[in-house]
């Protein structure tokens, strides 16, 4: 296409053939990208619809308060729900302090040494290790070596190890986001390191830390493989009374029901999924709320 030397007044406004084609490509490309994105969104809708259609009919109070059974009409998620709540509570109690303290160390105290580097590399790598490997670790260390058997506490310890890297990484970010001017001002009035952290850094970082912890815990709630590895049972007709008791969990119950060939059990699984997603939704809503409150201050 020759560059037209403008000698006539009407210079701009004629679209040459090739420009028209190139603009067509642009439009097609844009539509394709939007289309792909909408199909991803559509899949979510499809999934939710599928689960809801199959599971809602089975979702009632009886379902929430019954134990699993060979008979689908009588089966429920009580043991799984309680088990999940027990495990998550203990997981939170273990992983929150350890994770936050580790993050404090890395952000506030750690020198730029090889040891610090080793720790940081380890955390980054552990974040990408498949969850089933954590299950093997939990089996060997907590169930066998420490003799905790297939208890709630063994499950909680295993889960804590699983989500610890995630908590540390997000807590580190929350702490790093606290402006250094706050620290410097506190140091300038003679505070010790811990005093600065406790009174100035942590309060500002808490919303971000909490958000990260809640999101990490919601990941833990959905994890099945590690609990299977440490031996959480799949047919449990009781609720745990203490941390040393055996247990089952929502994802395991869902897994168990899905594995059965009968269609009713698949529908039960869908109902269980609704309960699980409801728990997750609540937790995420809380996390978003905390984040919102934090940014409002």
């Amino acid at each position: 296409m020759d560059l037209i030397k403008p000698v006539t007044p009407e210079v701009i406004g004629r679209r040459s053939g090739s420009l028209r084609r190139r603009h067509l490509y642009s439009r097609a490309f844009r539509i394709a990208c939007i289309g792909f994105t909408m199909s991803a969104v559509g899949v979510l809708g499809l999934l939710i619809y599928q689960v809801a259609a199959a599971g809602l009919p089975w979702l009632d109070l009886q379902f929430l308060t019954s134990f699993p059974s060979r008979f689908p009409e009588r089966a429920g998620v009580k043991s799984a729900l309680y088990g999940t709540l027990w495990v998550v509570s203990f997981t939170a109690m273990i992983s929150l302090p350890v994770g936050v303290l580790a993050a404090i160390y890395l952000e506030e105290y750690a020198p730029a040494s090889t040891m610090t580097r080793i720790i940081e590399i380890n955390i980054a790598n552990l974040a990408g290790v498949p969850s089933i490997v954590y299950g093997i670790l939990g089996l060997a260390v907590f169930v066998r070596f420490l003799g905790l058997e297939r208890s709630v506490i063994a499950g909680a310890l295993t889960m804590s190890l699983l989500i610890l890297p995630v908590i540390i990484i997000s807590a580190k970010e929350a702490i790093r986001a606290v402006p250094s001017s706050i620290r410097l001002a506190a140091f300038a009035v003679g505070a010790t390191q811990w005093q600065v952290v406790r009174s100035h850094v942590l309060p500002s970082a808490i919303p971000g830390i909490l958000t990260g912890v809640i999101l990490a815990l919601s990941r833990a709630i959905g994890e099945t493989a590690p609990l299977i590895m440490i031996g959480a049972l799949t047919y449990v007709a009781f609720v745990p009374d203490g941390p040393m008791d055996e247990f089952t969990a929502l994802p395991i119950q869902i897994f168990n029901w899905t594995s059965r060939p009968q269609a009713e059990f698949h529908e039960l699984a869908a109902a269980g999924i609704i309960v699980l997603l409801a728990v997750l939704l609540t937790m995420n809503a809380v996390a978003v709320f905390i984040r919102y409150q934090g940014t409002r201050k």
Partner: protein
């Protein structure tokens, strides 16, 4: 002041707003063929905004509204059927910070002509553009090197070559030397004298010495308003407006 008969680009009462706030207010300006026009003024006076409207680069910013007309050889640049891509084939741009593509030196210059299917041998076009930008001798043996390996001044000359390779009629320059050292700046200013034999150049600058050295016409803007526009000599030695005199003598800005 010449009559606007050989005006290539013309702004008529142009007002440009960002989300309601006017950055350019009622500016009317003519840009003459094969001359260098400098637009000067303090930071935030709207000179870059005005410049970018001349090749439809403001299209990419959200919430921008524009009133008035901008004509290129009597065609409305913002007409209903006007293709912004075609506009930029006639009106090129060099930016404040050098922004070469992360590709080879050759590809940087050749990319625009290639995708637009411009006529002639691409290699010749690249060589011509690099020579016009006074960069050819420095890079002719390493055209396949990454453009990012060049120095700041070289990268900016590469960006000038990139614009020249499209053989536009007008070249817009938005503070092209502000990120460069004095030596590179001087080289590019020398370049401008040669380029104006073939191209119409509009250069936004906050360096008054540069404006007075290099340009034929100077426009002084303040707070979005065009205060004065005339021959560079007159604007700098016998300004008609007090605000202009204050600015060019360094009393503010």
């Amino acid at each position: 002041m010449k009559q606007p008969e050989n005006a290539v680009l013309e702004a008529r009462n142009v007002t440009i707003r960002y989300s309601g706030e006017a950055a350019v207010k009622g500016v009317s300006l003519s840009l003459f063929e094969k001359k260098i026009t400098a637009i000067i003024g303090p930071s935030g006076c709207g000179k870059s905004t005005l410049l970018r409207s001349l090749n439809r680069m403001n299209d990419f910013i959200d919430h921008v509204t524009q009133e008035g007309e901008i004509l290129y050889r009597n065609s409305d640049l913002y007409g209903e059927h006007v293709d912004p891509v075609e506009v930029r084939l006639h009106i090129g741009m060099v930016f404040q910070r050098p922004n070469p593509f992360p590709k080879s030196i050759y590809r940087n210059v050749a990319w625009g002509p290639t995708i637009n299917g411009l006529s002639g041998d691409i290699n010749e076009r690249v060589e011509r553009a690099l020579k016009q930008a006074a960069l050819w001798d420095e890079v002719k043996d390493r055209l396949d090197d990454s453009a990012l390996n060049l120095s700041g001044g070289q990268q900016q000359r590469l960006c000038i070559a990139r614009a020249l390779a499209m053989e536009p009629e007008v070249i817009l320059m938005d503070e092209p030397c502000s990120a460069l050292d004095p030596v590179s700046t001087a080289r590019i200013e020398d370049l401008l004298f040669e380029l104006k034999e073939k191209y119409t150049i509009v250069i936004v600058t906050h360096n008054m010495q540069q404006a007075s050295r290099v340009s034929d016409y100077t426009a002084f803007m303040e707070s979005g308003v065009l205060i004065e526009y005339g021959d560079t000599d007159e604007v700098f030695t016998r300004p008609k407006q007090k605000r202009t005199e204050d600015y060019v003598t360094g009393r503010f800005g």
